[in-house]
């Protein structure tokens, strides 16, 4: 039963995973944390950090992790396959009329229409992490601001910034 639920939820997440990794976070939070309580909010944040530190797209990493926690190796396999399934199927359909697909006016308008939602979803993910306790004190604010400045001005690798921030956390929160 739990496997069927994993399948249904992660197919849904895969189907609406538009616009790159972060835009999918609100949907994962809504379903996995709020509706199904498969992860606490704290664990959700940990999964986000872990996916940034391991190879692979965030939606797939989250699927594997949640699947494992809920149903072991079998659960993680089901969740991972489910999250990929919609896009694989859509590509296999679309690949036969590639050119027509790209220039189709409906497709173009849908894609343009998606953009504001993608930006709003990503912004809401940032807000939700701050509000959910991701930044809880002045030290957190400083780490966040410094990371942001390093990211924007020095163009440092995000993974490096994340590891440095984590190490700073270990030092300042003793």
């Amino acid at each position: 039963m739990i496997l069927i639920q994993l399948f249904l939820i992660f197919t849904q997440i895969g189907l609406f995973a538009f616009g790159g990794g972060y835009a999918i976070l609100p949907l994962i939070e809504k379903e996995i944390v709020n509706n199904f309580h498969w992860l606490t909010y704290k664990e959700f944040l940990e999964v986000v950090t872990i996916s940034q530190l391991t190879p692979g797209p965030i939606s797939i990493n989250a699927a594997t992790f949640v699947g494992y926690k809920i149903g072991g190796i079998l659960g993680s396999t089901v969740a991972t396959v489910s999250v990929c399934l919609p896009s694989v199927i859509i590509i296999l359909i679309v690949v036969k009329f590639l050119k027509k697909f790209e220039t189709n006016i409906w497709v173009t308008n849908i894609l343009k229409g998606l953009r504001p939602a993608v930006v709003a979803l990503i912004a809401s993910a940032a807000y939700s992490i701050v509000k959910g306790g991701g930044i809880s004190d002045i030290k957190g604010i400083i780490i966040g601001v410094v990371s942001f400045l390093l990211l924007r001005s020095k163009k440092l690798n995000p993974i490096l910034i994340l590891i440095l921030a984590g190490i700073v956390g270990v030092i300042v929160y003793i």
């Binding site: 939606s59 694989v88 990371s147």
Partner: protein, 186 residues
């Protein structure tokens, strides 16, 4: 004899599709766009499995449908090389490294996660995650919101998401419907 060799070369091809995409999967850290040059180098330049133009068309489609771009591109390229079976092999190869990494992390991490040092690491990393996401909002917003209308729609959707807690899928649906109504007609 001939049939045997034929089968062998087919297996060889599938195996090399698997290996190439496995390699790509290993190096896909933090966001799909970084590994597009890597995929191109492997499948277009080294293996010459598909042409450069076809690859670019494939990326265009990969960006426009749901799902991570790495997986979409793997599906597309795999299909071009060996049909549906090629897709499945390519996607499996691309996913396997992250799958294995997360399983390993999950196995060990779930035992260590309550340690103070681990918790403090996350406490330090969380603000950096916020910084990464805010930075993504700026980059993607600059690219995606070209008209005032789009900025207004994005702001309204953000408001609905934060204050009325609408379902993220509803936000996507509203945005698409508005796009269809307000988009070019021809």
């Amino acid at each position: 004899m001939n049939v045997k060799e034929d089968t062998k070369s087919k297996l060889d091809l599938l195996l090399s599709i698997f290996i190439v995409f496995f390699k790509i999967g290993v190096f896909t850290w933090g966001g799909g766009y970084c590994m597009l040059p890597l995929i191109k180098n492997e499948v277009v330049e080294k293996k010459k499995w598909i042409g450069s133009e076809d690859f670019i068309d494939g990326i265009g489609v990969s960006q426009s449908i749901p799902g991570p771009i790495a997986i979409n591109t793997a599906t597309f390229v795999g299909y071009r090389i060996y049909g549906t079976l090629g897709s499945i092999v390519a996607v499996t190869g691309a996913i396997l490294p992250s799958f294995a990494a997360i399983i390993l992390v999950a196995m060990f991490f779930l035992g260590f996660r309550e340690l103070t040092v681990v918790q403090n690491f996350f406490k330090g990393a969380n603000p950096a995650i916020v910084a990464l996401i805010v930075s993504a909002v700026i980059d993607i917003g600059r690219d995606a919101l070209k008209k005032y209308r789009e900025v207004i729609i994005a702001s309204i959707l953000l408001f609905l998401l934060l204050y009325f807690k609408i379902h993220p899928i509803l936000a996507i649906v509203i945005s698409v419907i508005l796009g269809l109504f307000l988009g070019e007609k021809k």
